[in-house]
């Protein structure tokens, strides 16, 4: 199977500040990978490079087996239709209503009529748990959590195979975070979605990820399952997973893991 994402020998440098040093990352189809790391460790930058928004100083990035730099525009356009992105701040188009924001990618395809687009948008709004009466609102009139969910609906509207989520649950209340996790999990199961997410939310991380990539000291110090990640003795991991908050999240999940083990 071709990996969905293949990052090899990636260096990123801003001036003489090295953010990534010889970083490698491979994501296979259907995997949910969480990227964690301290603030300023270069998670957003790495994601932007995988999205082709920024060019690494050195190294290659391939998505769906196609190198992002050096491929022709047509090929890149095809890739862009197969992924969906949820930006850290939502990045809804402020001049368009909620409805038009979600409808935009569909309209851009010019394959579907308005009736179809309307039903599709309403369906996506239902999926992210936004009431229909909000459809006519402008992004400026929404709460932070609603912006997140609507941006997610927009990211999902073209049924992407690969989804990037930057801090998806930051700013959501616990209930909504929970339903977000459920939504991603069900999409993952039904559509065999590949997910790459940046998150600091341990509960989300623990309950969704197949693999965890820990970014520290300018590279991935661990890339593996939660169990493998915790086993590594590194100050960041000790603080992140085995600090007070980390242990609380882990113990909550440990219970379910044990249950699953008995089955």
């Amino acid at each position: 199977m071709t990996p969905v994402i293949e990052v090899a020998g990636l260096w990123t440098q801003f001036g003489d500040h090295v953010v990534h040093r010889d970083l490698n990352l491979t994501v296979m189809p259907g995997e949910v990978v969480s990227l964690v790391g301290g603030s300023g460790s270069g998670k957003t930058t790495l994601m932007r490079q995988i999205l082709g928004l920024e060019r690494p100083t050195r190294g290659t990035v391939k998505v769906f087996g196609i190198p992002l730099h050096g491929s022709n525009a047509q090929l890149l356009h095809k890739i862009r239709k197969r992924w969906g992105v949820l930006f850290q701040e939502g990045a809804l188009y402020s001049a368009l209503s909620v409805f038009d924001n979600i409808a935009l990618p569909l309209r851009e395809l010019r394959a579907f009529d308005e009736d179809f687009i309307r039903d599709m948008v309403l369906l996506k709004l239902d999926m992210v748990d936004i009431e229909r009466r909000h459809a006519a609102k402008m992004p400026a009139d929404l709460s932070g959590g609603m912006i997140k969910r609507i941006a997610l609906a927009r990211a999902l509207v073209l049924e992407p195979e690969l989804v990037f989520l930057d801090e998806p649950t930051a700013g959501l209340d616990p209930d909504r975070s929970e339903s977000f996790v459920k939504l991603i999990r069900s999409l993952h199961e039904t559509l065999n979605l590949t997910v790459v997410m940046v998150t600091h939310d341990l509960d989300t991380l623990v309950s969704l990820s197949d693999k965890i990539a820990v970014l520290a000291e300018q590279k991935l110090i661990v890339y593996g399952t939660l169990r493998e990640a915790i086993a590594v003795r590194h100050p960041f991991i000790l603080n992140f997973f085995l600090g007070e908050r980390g242990l609380r999240a882990l113990s909550a999940v440990a219970a379910t893991i044990n249950l699953n083990g008995k089955h």
């Binding site: 199977m1 769906f64 402020s94 009736d115 179809f116 039903d119 239902d126 999926m127 039904t190």
Partner: protein, 381 residues
């Protein structure tokens, strides 16, 4: 790619078939996901419509290899947004349709309004009144806030004023000089043609002197500054509104009138008269050079003739206009900047409105000056 080991994924297809007991059936197969449908949605929709005319037919969807919400919605719409009574689905495809069954509400159409135009006119008038009131209110607020500064002059935004002065004044010297010079030359050239034909060559000094110093200099400089600095001020305040920087200032107890708006008004009120002086000077130089070439009046005699032709009070009038124009432009620009809504469209509209309004306001103010000072500074021979 995802199902590399599975049999090849086929194109989406609709066929008429029969069930085991011979009843009519519609059979769908292949990939019904966005990748496959992107190019075929319209034709497949038509095909599905034809098959869905018979409500009793059996729908066999179990041979669909890939399905997503897009494909499910396309099929579901063809069913008339209702599940048919007899339906066979492939394993795992049930979820797509269960999501859909709840999504059937129609958005209400906009009601017809016969008085739309009248309403729009009324709304426009009210908006103008509201803008006027807003500008007066802003001016009042600034005056009140500046009273505090009188008591604590050291807390004044001196640094901001000086920075604004540099931005709206110093950096505008180049463009105002270029435009002024060209206008001076053109004006002088056109007048010279006329004057030569009646043999009134020396009056070129009066025409250019009064015309440029009293009217053209101030208006040209003001229009340029409105386009250059007015738009910049509106955009800056607008972006600060969008990014909630203005709110951040308010919660820190820093009044944005004093920190942001007052410096701009003061800076423009100071810079504008100086820019007018500069523009008029350059325009006159251009005019003098052109007069030298056209009429043989040397630049030296043009300049020495000026004080006699143009009473000095015109210069004061021009400076006075400069102060008023400058303050007006800054005030209008700030007003529109503060009214920007937190979205990109509104930012663009606000900037355009700001420039158009301030240029109009400058010209109206100029007309008022002309009426009030009609008999000041015009020497009759």
């Amino acid at each position: 790619m995802q199902q590399a080991a599975a049999p090849a994924v086929l194109d989406p297809d609709v066929r008429q078939a029969r069930t085991a007991d011979g009843a009519p059936a519609v059979e769908l197969s292949g990939a019904w996901d966005i990748r496959a449908l992107e190019t075929r949605a319209r034709s497949l929709k038509l095909q599905l419509r034809q098959f869905s005319t018979d409500p009793g037919s059996h729908w066999n969807l179990s041979r669909i290899q890939r399905l997503d919400h897009i494909g499910a919605l396309l099929i579901w719409q063809a069913w008339g947004k209702r599940r048919p009574a007899r339906l066979a689905l492939a394993q795992g495809h049930e979820v797509f349709f269960s999501h859909l069954d709840s999504a059937a509400a129609a958005a209400p159409a906009a009601p017809f309004d016969p008085l739309r135009l009248v309403r729009a006119l009324g709304a426009a008038l009210l908006l103008t009144a509201e803008h006027l009131r807003g500008i007066v209110q802003l001016l009042g607020q600034i005056l009140l806030d500046s009273l505090v500064l009188l008591r604590h002059p050291l807390r004044g935004p001196w640094r901001e004023i000086s920075a604004s002065l540099f931005r709206v004044g110093t950096q505008a010297l180049g463009i105002t000089a270029l435009v002024g010079f060209l206008i001076g030359i053109v004006l002088s050239y056109l007048s010279a043609e006329q004057l030569k034909s009646v043999g009134a060559n020396v009056f070129i000094i009066n025409i250019l002197g009064i015309g440029i110093i009293r009217e053209l200099g101030p208006v040209i400089a003001a229009v340029l500054v409105a386009g250059r600095s007015g738009s910049a001020i509106t955009a800056q305040l607008g972006v600060m509104r969008v990014t909630e920087e203005l709110d951040a200032l308010s919660v820190m107890g820093i009044p944005h009138t004093v920190r942001l708006i007052l410096p701009k008004i003061v800076a423009l009120a100071i810079a504008m008269p100086l820019l007018i002086l500069w523009t008029s000077g350059i325009a006159l130089t251009g005019g003098a050079i052109s007069a030298d070439m056209q009429l043989g009046i040397s630049v030296h005699s043009f300049m020495t003739g000026l004080p006699a032709a143009v009473p000095a009070v015109n210069l004061s009038l021009a400076m006075g206009k400069g102060v008023v124009f400058g303050a007006l432009i800054a005030l209008i620009a700030c007003h529109f900047g503060l009214r920007v809504q937190p979205n990109t469209e509104s930012l663009g509209i606000g900037t355009t409105n700001s420039v158009v309004t301030s240029i109009t306001a400058v010209i109206i103010a100029d007309a008022i000056f002309a009426v009030i000072f009609a008999d000041v500074g015009i020497s009759l021979l």
